[in-house]
Symmetry: D3
Subunit: 135 residues, 6 copies
């Protein structure tokens, strides 16, 4: 259960309804997932969060839609957010992620976690070549 | 400085030399970065780590090379591995990442972190639709 | 379920009963939440943990009680501790946190997570002004 | 060093200059810290990030300015963001944080981390009382 | 529920069957836990993961089997992996971990988390003595 | 640099001197590392932290001294605490950790991180057998 009281009919609030309508129109589906329903307890937080997600994830940008979802899933795993892993894995699949790509995503996330812990355990100093490259 | 004694001439150990040679051949460069130089204190750990990195990151697989690096950078940021952020950002740039793509990668990682913390703070219950989708 | 066997009647152990009695007296409630019931498997760990929580969270100190709970919730979210998010959000509400304050707490935690990931992704060097300020 | 090329005179870009000017006006100081200077490599990311920080941290809201900074520092510690710990500790001090409050902030963050790890290690089930309280 | 479709009879795939048989033979039990059953959706990922776990955790090495499991549990707690905390706590118990050792493991993990957060909050500079010791 | 002003001669405070003397006596060395020197800005926080570290890490308990340090290093890596990785790796070496044991510690931490991320990415459900085992 969430840490805020679920609202019985959140769309009675016109600000909430406007966001939900935009979610449905943008995603071309009647389904509004629980993150948005839960955020409805504070219309400003709901509006600000959706605006940012829409601008970055639902509009054409420099990276293709599937790549963006794969990155989102990767961060959600590393931050151990169970809800986000479920919702963004579903989104990645909706954007065409195959089982083979899913397996490879997980393999890369796991390998990165492995070498992250190795480099932190060893306290490897940053190569001056990397610093120069940014110059 | 690292938590293990740097080895003066690590390639005097033939197992280390074989790995370093393979790194240079695979990446078509003379540069062997500090992670591998530091791992040289234990040839088995060095061999196992390189074998896994090479198989996943240096061979053609289901995801394209740049996408794989973007995922790697994303996890490294979320795990707060300074060395890894430097080395894999450099690798992504070497594989063609533009400044616009870099900015977008950072924006998505930051947005994911934001909604990860929101969903965890709200303890949003997983939608049954997501569970069904995996069925 | 927990990773330790729940104890049927933990208060048969006088050390456990003493801690539970102190929790009830300190908090002016009959309710002893699951963290303490689970810690009862090791009376020393239970005693040490409660002593520390009581000293810092249940006594008047430099920060007011609600601010202390907000900080506690913030850390619990960032560390992805589901139980702690629930228990300390409830505690914050018991100490007067309004819905507006809750929404703002979540917004700040989410924004901090966002800029944490940006700064780590960018590897922003620490300003010398900050170092001087600590001098 | 950062992972992006520092820009020599970032304020030659009018969008960057507008943000820097607003930072100086809002904070009543000539000092613009490195996070913003580094973000200048992508004016959109700079604008969006500053807009959000300004709205939440520099305007009067439900929580007082010092409490907001303490929460920000707490999250930055838990996410292990060295830059953010430095910058927001400096900000908290600028907003009046005393040494005693700083010590207590650190003590609470450390205690929360301790019980976060205990609860996660024990996999303590969430009390039904907490769930009811959110109802 | 997992993010991948559970496979009805995973051992109809001979590569999966070979891994499951090896798990049963190595551990001398008929029980194959859910991590392996879930990984069966991608036989290569299953094989690579099991090979690595077997080599490090099921073979005699420099550290004794119980110590290795305690380290594994500690990392799993810090990374907030609920499944891993359950599975490796069970494994540690199977390798002889007593209740007193379990309590002490949790106490050390909790103390380490506490001082980790203190040191990060204070940004304690690394002693030159530690760097010299690695030389 | 630390986020608190270093104190010129911290032992002029008798409470600080008492703790430093106890550190030197307990560890049989003149060396007092920076964590304690930095914590000296708040004698209560210094006393409480040292008391807890001494009780758990410097006294004979259910686990042997080296195992305790290995667990401490493992958590410090997973929490990405650079200072703690350095100080506890040095402590482990002082308690007899060999290079082979160090390499194995790192290999286990890295493997645990890998399977932590896999299990979180897959959202593997906890086996009922693990829950029963705790009963």
């Amino acid at each position: 259960m969430s840490t805020v009281k679920p609202i019985d009919d959140p769309e009675r609030n016109p600000r909430v309804k406007a966001v939900f309508d935009d979610i449905r129109a943008t995603r071309k589906t009647d389904f509004v997932n629980n993150l948005w329903r839960t955020l409805a307890f504070d219309p400003s937080l709901l509006e600000n969060t959706w605006t940012e997600v829409k601008r970055l994830m639902a509009a054409p940008t420099a990276l293709d839609p599937l790549t963006k979802e794969l990155i989102y899933v990767a961060v959600s795993i590393a931050n151990s957010c169970s809800y986000c892993v479920h919702s963004h894995t579903a989104a990645a699949r909706a954007k065409g992620m195959t089982d083979a790509q899913h397996a490879e995503l997980l393999a890369i996330v796991a390998l990165a976690a492995k070498t992250n812990h190795l480099a932190t355990g060893l306290q490897v100093p940053v190569d001056s070549a990397f610093e120069a490259a940014a110059r």
